[in-house]
Amino acid sequence: MKLRKHVVGAVLAMCCALGPAAVAHAADLPPLSHSLSLQTPKSAPALKFKDIDGKTIDLAQLKGKVVLVNFWATWCPPCRREMPSMERLSQTFKGKPFVVLAVNVGENADTIEAFSSQLDITLTFPILLDTRSQGMRAWKVAGLPTTFLVDKQGRIVASAIGGREFDHPEIVRAVRGLLGK
């Protein structure tokens, strides 16, 4: 801890010497993780919202499929960074009973489309609109991004707080394991 404190102190010293813009490059991009925290399976809360195309998506209708539920917003830097890897994960399991649901908090379809149009990859999974953050409260999400893995029985079996590389072999393996059950 002591060593880390010095590192932080060094970063802060740079901040003050070089100005915030100079530090932004070094410090704005904490590495994405690839771990999932396994949980004792428990029933997932309800999740039913319209997506950006106006179609109602209900998690309850997805029983029999493995679902990755990701809470995010366009202004959240790690959310933006992990989005392409979530699409790649979705493509990895194309044709399998696997669904990604990206639940956007508090924004509208225009804002989301302005963001997604900047990506090098087209997002093919549904993006749900949790305009009043009711879903986040129901799922007891404390910060963005937060992701849950829901098994075929509709139970949360794993979670991840903070940005992830979702197509990392460790996460792919976890999804594959759930699909095999």
Binding site: M1, G9, V11, P20, A27, S33, S37, W75, A160, G162
Partner: protein, 146 residues
């Protein structure tokens, strides 16, 4: 744990783009704002409660970080729209959170300290039934023009 200053202009821009009025955004930009990143690099879950963190500058008593609830009351009084308040709430570092190994998060923390005034931040976390703390010494917010 890592802190990176968010300049007043970045704070203004961020919140005005989320629907804050210039006046409301200015109120937040007056604070000393840091992007705060906490990552659990250990092997046990850790928890924090922001209400237990204290910052102190010379000759001043320790201060608690203003809670999201307190900000929420202020924004309501200033007539900030609900969508903007939602963005504000989730952009702040969580009041309390449990991080499993590998988990991390980032969000803003704000300190009522004048520019260029040094302050220390005492942060507290819990792991394995024990309370731990650390101090980041001699922090300061660079001036607007730095």
């Amino acid at each position: 744990m890592r802190l990176t200053q968010i300049s007043p202009d970045q704070a203004r821009g961020f919140y005005q783009a989320r629907g804050f009025s210039p006046e409301a955004a200015e109120r937040y930009a007056r604070e000393c704002v840091f992007m705060t990143v906490v990552r659990n690099i250990g092997e046990r879950p850790i928890q924090h409660n922001l209400a237990n963190w204290r910052y102190v500058s010379a000759n001043q008593p320790p201060s608690a970080i203003r809670s999201k609830l307190a900000w929420e009351h202020l924004w309501k009084r200033q007539g900030v729209a609900e969508s903007a308040r939602i963005a504000f709430t989730w952009a702040q570092f969580p009041a309390t959170q449990t991080f499993a190994p590998g988990d991390w998060n980032q969000g803003m923390t704000a300190y009522s300290v004048p520019r260029d005034v040094l302050f220390d931040l005492r942060f507290v976390w819990h792991a394995g039934g024990q309370t731990h703390s650390g101090i980041l010494e001699q922090l300061r917010c660079a001036d607007e023009t730095s």
